[in-house]
Structures are given as C-alpha cells and as structure tokens.
C-alpha cells in the first residue's frame, strides 16, 4: 500500500460498540442494513408460508402456532406485504448494498454525513421493532393490507387488529419514512459532492445511477407517505375526518372517536372525509416505491450482465436516460392503482396513457440487456445466473403490466390474483433476484471469501423454477376471477374450483422456501470457511475491485483514486487484458 498523508476521514474507531454497533463506517452500516433485511425477509417468508398453508389446508395445525383463523390470515397478509416492501425490498438493495458500495464505486472515503447515516440505520431498526411489536399487542397486528385503505385502517373497530396494532403499524411506517429520508439525503449529497477525480456523472457505474435515482424518488415520495400517516393517525386518535366520511356504521356501532383537543363533554362523529384521498396520497408514494424496490436491481443486473459477458453494457447512455425516465414517469402514474376506486374516469384515461409510456424505458432496458449478451463471452458464475434470472422475471412480470394499465382490462383483473402475480414477479422476486445477484457478486469484497458455486447454482435453479411455479399460476387464477386477499375459497362456488391450482402453488412455495436455507447455509458457511477471495475475483472494472478485500476503513487506504475510464470497458481491442479498470491509467482512449 502506498502511504502518503492520511486524508481527512475520521480514524478507524476502537472498541466493539463504536466499530460494530454505532459505527459511522458506511460499510458496517451497509452490512447492518443487509442483515436487518435478511432477518426481515425470513420473517416475511415465514408469514407467506403460513398464508399458503392456510389457503389450502385451513384446518392444519401449525407447530407452536395452532390453526390459522381467517382474521389471522389477513394479519399475515398485511404484515407480509409491509415487511417485504419496506424492510426488505427498500432496505436491502438500496440501503444495504447502496451504503456499502456507492461511496466506494465513486471513490469516496465515506458517505457525506456519516452520523446521519448511522442514525438512519438505527431509526430503521426502531421502525422494524415497532412493526414486529404489533404482533404482540392486544388484538394483534392489523388486517388492512399493506395499502391500509381507509376507512378500514382509520376506524379502530373495523376489525380485530385495527386497534393498537394498526397504530403501531402506522407509527412504524412513519419512523421508516424518516429513516429513508435521511438515507436518501445522504445518498444524493454523496453522489453529487464526493465523486473522485475523473468520476464524471457519465462514468458512474449503472448501480450508482440506480441508487442515485432511487434516492431522489425516496426523497420525494417518503415525505408524502409520512404526511398521509400523520393524517391517518389523527383520524384514528384525535377525531379528525380527513379520510373518514360521516354516517358509518360498524356492525351496529356508530363510529365515535373521543374528540381529542376538544371539550371533554362532547364527542364528535366523523363527517365528510374522503377515503379516496388516502388512496391518492398512498399511491403517490406507493408507485415510486415500486421503482425504489426495482431500480437498484436493474442497476445490479446491468453491472453484472456487462461484467460476466465481458462486454461493455449495450447503450450506457440509453440505460441512464431510461432510469431517469422511469423515475420521472413513476410520479405521474399512481392513479392506475385506482381505476376501480370511483376516481374520475377522465383522469383514469390520463393515468393509463402515462402508465403505458413507462413501459417504453422498461423495454429499452430489456433490449439493452439482451444486446449486452449478444456476442459476449458469458461466464455463467452464480452472480450472473441471478442477473439472467432477473432479466427473465423482469420480462415476465413487466409484460402483464400493459394488461393492468388499460382501464378496460383492469375491470376484470383488478384485485384478482393476476395483480398479485404481476407485482410479485416484477417488484417482488425480480428485486429479490437483484439482491441475490448482488450478494453472490459482492460477498467476496464484503467478507473476503468466496461463496460456494455449486450450492449457488442449485439455489438458483430451484429458486427460478420455484418462483415461476408459484407466481405464473396466479395469472391463470386472476383470469378465472379469483379475488385476492380471500382467506378461504369455500364461499364462492366458482373459486372453489380453483383450489387444486392453489394447492400446486403451495407445494411450489414449500420447496422454494426450503431452498432459501441453502442460501443461508452458503452465506454463513462461506463467511467462515469459503475460499479466500482475491481483490478482484470477477475481473470487474469498477472502483470497489481496485481496493483491498475487504476494503480498509477509509476504503482506499489513505488515498484518493483517480478515474480515467468509463465503468464497463471489457474486451477493449488492443488492451493487454480483457478489462480496463476505471482507475487504470489513461493509455487506451475510451470514455
């Protein structure tokens, strides 16, 4: 290691607490986020397992759990969705990998605001604890679904779990919003202000672009959800009527909430609120959130497809503009979740056109990924397998979008399993495949050892086949009119006929979930026993591979890297080897 005067970053702290618990090091924080998401994903997966079992074997006795009641099913569904969307899909790809690798990939010693970074992780952690606490309070966790539509979510006596459990759910999400806002602020500042010399915006790896645009989406979207959450809490506890209309009647009880900040002698009934207002606010956040979940995965897929095909990414600029276009359009399509809600049919028309437009940049990305593979020399190592799986899932999940985006086709499909299949493929498992790809790819850098290839391949094949076996049939079910969020199909005759397909899906889920333990074993076994990793085991070009493994406290050992090349210079004619690192001297002219 060359040693010159140390740069201005804080020295490596001593002591366990400062180094591993309240660490200011973005790498430690990234790993903390990753393991938080790992814990969350196993909770969420367990909940989905219980749901699948209940759907087809409703009287099954689950060890330690007993029989699942219909209202428990809705609780499982709500918490599965919430935990997966917020604490897995938003946390792992963005906050986890983003925290660890964004500063290194742009050549920065740390995030712009390390203390804020630490705060943002611990705030997320508190949000997770509050969310899990909802299971253990009187009445249990809420049953209003992850979308929390008012008035179901706004009136404590609308169902079991809608009392304290629902309050905790809202509070947890509000805390999560604050954490995400802090994170987004840090990401944006870091990208804009801490890039190494020569790291122009158009030389940033596509992962960085994805994290950057995702952070902008988060910055604009989470504030809106926070506001909506505050309004919902006020409706629930202080007697206001933002979302709750008047004249409601819940199984014989009039809804009267004790009026907060009001004379103690009077109670107010709700009057005049708008349930649709909640939906507008929620989906104004909710649709960008979908892209918050998937954009980092797109970034990882782009990076990996180029690296393992040994070929520059096809159309780098188009990829960047496509990410931007998706980010911008993501803010003007929220109404497509509300075609059946009673919203003005004229605005439905406009939202539908915008939604179709968002298909265009998505198609550009797919085209460019295939173009990257074309005439490459594809190294089929595990990270690449998951990147290819990502493309396949993205195509499958994406192509059901144009059905749902047409209001007239949304009539039969809205709120059926078709929608469930659509979003699970595209923002659920596609994003998860992005996380897996990232894990197998960056694990050597993070932990200094390689993950097991054979286990990885088996994990990949079972997971890919399994996810298709679970989620593709959902499209068929949706066509046949199977409504989502039904805990049983015994009551509606045409739906009872569909149970055999549901049973098949449950078996597929059992196998797929079992296969995830292969990943877990691989992860923890390789951390201790995996083969030692070199600094650049995949022969990648980006900056994280030019420093030591694992990177030193300030990432580059007291140095500031200088960037002379674009991010994906593979197989450059005339170059001594088949890749030119971004930090290689500028002898070969590239961009």
């Amino acid at each position: 290691m060359a040693t010159t005067a140390p740069v201005h970053v804080h020295a490596a702290p001593q002591g366990f607490i400062r180094r591993y618990v309240f660490s200011l090091d973005h790498k430690v924080i990234g790993i903390q986020y990753y393991f938080l998401a790992l814990a969350a994903v196993f909770v969420g997966m367990f909940l989905s397992l219980l749901m699948r079992i209940h759907l087809v074997w409703p009287t099954a006795q689950i060890p330690l759990f007993g029989e699942i009641k219909p209202e428990t099913y809705l609780t499982l569904l709500t918490m599965h969705g919430t935990i997966m969307v917020f604490f897995v899909l938003t946390t792992a790809p963005q906050s986890g990998f983003g925290n660890y690798f964004l500063p290194i990939q742009i050549g920065a010693p740390d995030m712009a605001f390390p203390v804020l970074n630490m705060l943002s992780f611990w705030t997320t952690f508190v949000a997770f604890v509050v969310m899990i606490a909802a299971f253990f309070v009187a009445g249990g966790a809420p049953l209003h679904g992850w979308t929390g539509y008012a008035p179901l979510s706004a009136v404590p006596n609308s169902g079991p779990g809608e009392a304290l459990g629902a309050d905790l759910w809202i509070v947890s999400i509000a805390i999560f919003c604050i954490a995400s806002l802090m994170g987004a602020l840090n990401f944006i500042t870091t990208v804009l202000d801490l890039r190494a010399k020569g790291m122009t915006m158009m030389r940033m790896p596509l992962t960085v672009w994805a994290w950057f645009i995702t952070a902008i989406l988060g910055l604009l979207a989470f504030g809106v959800l926070l506001s909506a959450g505050i309004l919902l809490l006020m409706d629930r506890n202080l007697g206001t009527s933002f979302f709750v209309p008047g004249g409601l009647n819940f199984t014989g009880q009039l809804t009267v909430t004790p009026g907060g900040l009001s004379p103690s002698t009077t109670n107010f009934t709700h009057h005049g609120g708008s349930p649709l207002l909640w939906q507008h606010l929620f989906w104004f956040f909710g649709h960008p959130e979908v892209y918050i979940a998937i954009l980092p995965g797109m970034g990882v897929a782009s990076q990996l497809l180029s690296t393992f095909s040994r070929k520059p990414i096809f159309g780098y600029k188009a990829m960047v503009y496509a990410i931007m276009a998706i980010g911008i359009l993501g803010f003007v399509v929220w109404g497509h979740h509300m075609f059946m809600s009673g919203m003005s049919p004229y605005s439905a028309f406009a939202f539908s056109i915008m939604t179709m437009c968002i298909g265009v940049p998505s198609a550009i990305k797919t085209f460019n990924w295939l173009g990257t593979l074309w005439h490459g020399r594809i190294r089929l190592q595990t990270p690449m397998l998951f990147a290819i799986g990502f493309v396949s899932l993205f195509v499958s999940g994406g192509l059901s979008g144009p059905f749902l985006a047409q209001p007239v086709l949304d009539i039969p499909l809205h709120d059926t399993y078709f929608v469930v299949g659509h979003f699970h493929l595209i923002m659920g498992v596609a994003a998860i495949f992005g996380i897996f790809a990232g894990t197998y790819y960056w694990f050597p850098k993070m932990f200094g050892r390689m993950m097991n290839e054979r286990l990885g391949q088996i994990h990949f094949l079972i997971t890919l086949l399994g996810t298709y076996a679970i989620f593709m049939p959902m499209h068929y079910l949706g066509l046949a009119g199977q409504t989502r969020r039904y805990s049983q199909f015994t009551e509606v005759a045409y739906q009872t006929k569909l149970v055999p397909l549901q049973t098949f899906m449950t078996y597929a889920a059992l196998i797929t979930i079992a296969a995830q333990f292969l990943f877990l074993i691989n992860l923890f076994w390789s951390m201790r026993k995996g083969a030692k990793a070199s600094d650049n085991p995949w022969e990648s070009t980006t900056l994280e591979w030019s420093t030591a493994t694992p990177p030193p406290h300030d990432n580059f050992g007291g140095q500031t890297p200088v960037v002379s090349h674009g991010p994906y210079e593979y197989s450059v004619p005339g170059a001594p080897r088949d890749f030119i690192m971004q930090t290689d001297p500028a002898t070969t002219a590239t961009h």
């Binding site: 290691m1 060359a2 010159t4 005067a5 201005h8 712009a112 605001f113 602020l185 840090n186 944006i188 500042t189 804009l192 202000d193 801490l194 890039r195 910055l219 604009l220 979207a221 504030g223 809106v224 506001s227 909506a228 505050i230 309004l231 006020m234 007697g239 206001t240 009527s241 209309p245 008047g246 004249g247 009026g259 900040l261 009001s262 004379p263 107010f268 005049g272 609120g273 708008s274 207002l277 507008h280 606010l281 104004f284 070199s534 600094d535 650049n536 085991p537 900056l543 030019s546 420093t547 580059f556 007291g558 140095q559 500031t560 890297p561 200088v562 890749f579 690192m581 290689d584 001297p585």
Partner: protein
C-alpha cells in the same frame, strides 16, 4: 474533487485475481492545517447541499398537506338526511391580529438569524489572524444575534400557542370542522419544524461553548439560518393559505 493535487501515482496492476493490488490514487484533498481551507469550504458546500435536500423533503410534506387541504375543501360529501351531495366546509374565524403579531416576530427572527450568519462568517474570516500570537482584532463582544433569534423563535411558538387557545375559546377544536383540523395540522407541523430550527440554533451556540473550531460553528449557523429563512417563508405561505382559502 477540484482540490486534488496532480501528483498521481500510477502503478500497473497485473491480473486481477492474484493477490492484493494497490489501487491508483491521486493525492489527498485539502491540507491538515490552514484556517478556512478548501476542505472547510467543501464541508460548507456539502452541508448546504444537504440542507437543500432537507428543504425539498419539507416542501413535499407541506405540498401533500396542501393538496389534501385543497381536495378536502372542494369535496362534496353525502348529506345523511337528504342523500344529496353537499359541501360541508365551514371556515374558521382566525384571530388575524394575533397571527400578524406572530408573523412579525418570525420575520424579525429571520432578520436576526441573518445577522448572526454574517457575524459568524466575519468571525471565521478573522480566526486565522487572531490565531497569530500577539495580534488582537478587538474584543469579541458583538451582539448575540443567535440568542436573539432563539428568543424571537420561542416567542413565535408561544404566540402560536396563544392563537390555539384563542381558537378554542371561539369554539374551534381540532375535530370541529375540516377547516379547523387543517388549521391545527398546518400550524402544528410548522411549529414542530421551527422547533427543530431552535434546537439547531442552540446546538450551534453550544459548539462555541464546547470550544469546537469556529469553522464547525459557521457551518451550523449558516445552514440553520437558511433553514430558518425557509421556515419564515413557509409560515407566510401557510398563513396565506389559511387566510385566503379558509
């Protein structure tokens, strides 16, 4: 960034999978010493950038409140007795004079925080000179603008509390009408943000008590001052919204 020296150490790295490979580095940025160095300017710029992003977030929160306000105001609801759509919006009677006094307090505090900001910039500029032994640039006894801002800010918050009491006396509680709900919501949300500003000012002050470098204090004061100006502007906007669209 722009402060990098040109002493680029270049080393050719061989096959990537063979042992640790030293990366290619430029020089370090900034120097370990030297008053208002470019490093401090970097920090200031970064903090300001962060602030802009904070303000974007705050704006989004108030934009969503505003859109809720506008939608709710124009929204017809079903009248239970007739089954017809009616508009149930009733305006709050605002204690306008009290609110005007509060607005004046806040604008004055915005002025004083600007003076505090300029004061700290002057002090930071003189700091290297003062550091020279034997050189005195006069006693540092200028007016405590930071303290004045805190007092004015707290005055505004107390004023808002009085407005709330006044509103209660007039019979407008949080859940009385949608209009009063929004009044309490917007004023409380603004008050919470302003209180955050007060806390930031107090921490800026405590930096000097803790004898941390004046540079750190300058960054805190600068960023808080801009935040404070934004809060004043936001208040004027909220006041206008509540007054003209009530």
């Amino acid at each position: 960034m722009g402060t990098l020296s040109s002493s680029v150490v270049l080393k050719d790295s061989k096959a990537g999978d063979r042992g640790p490979k030293p990366p290619i580095y430029g020089g370090d940025s900034g120097g370990p010493d030297g008053g208002s160095s470019s490093r401090d300017l970097d920090r200031l710029r970064r903090a300001r950038l962060g602030l802009v992003l904070v303000l974007v977030t705050v704006t989004m929160i108030f934009v969503s409140f505003t859109s809720a306000f506008v939608i709710r105001k124009g929204l017809p609801t079903i009248d239970e007795k007739t089954g017809a759509y009616v508009n149930d919006w009733t305006g709050v009677s605002l204690p306008v004079s009290l609110l005007l006094i509060n607005t004046t307090l806040l604008i004055l505090s915005s002025l004083s925080v600007e003076l505090a900001r300029r004061q700290i910039f002057r002090r930071a500029a003189l700091a290297p000179v003062q550091a020279i032994p034997g050189v005195s640039v006069g006693e540092d006894r200028s007016f405590p603008w930071l303290g004045a801002t805190v007092v004015l800010g707290l005055g505004f918050l107390i004023g808002q509390w009085i407005v709330w009491q006044e509103l209660r006396l007039r019979g407008f509680y949080l859940a009385t009408t949608p209009s009063s709900s929004f009044f309490y919501l917007l004023t409380a949300a603004h008050a919470v943000h302003l209180f955050g500003g007060v806390v930031a000012l107090l921490s800026a002050q405590s930096i000097s008590w803790l004898r941390r470098p004046v540079e750190t204090q300058r960054i805190w004061v600068d960023v808080t001052a801009w935040y404070w100006h934004f809060m004043a502007l936001l208040w004027v906007y909220i006041f206008a919204l509540l007054y003209f669209a009530r």
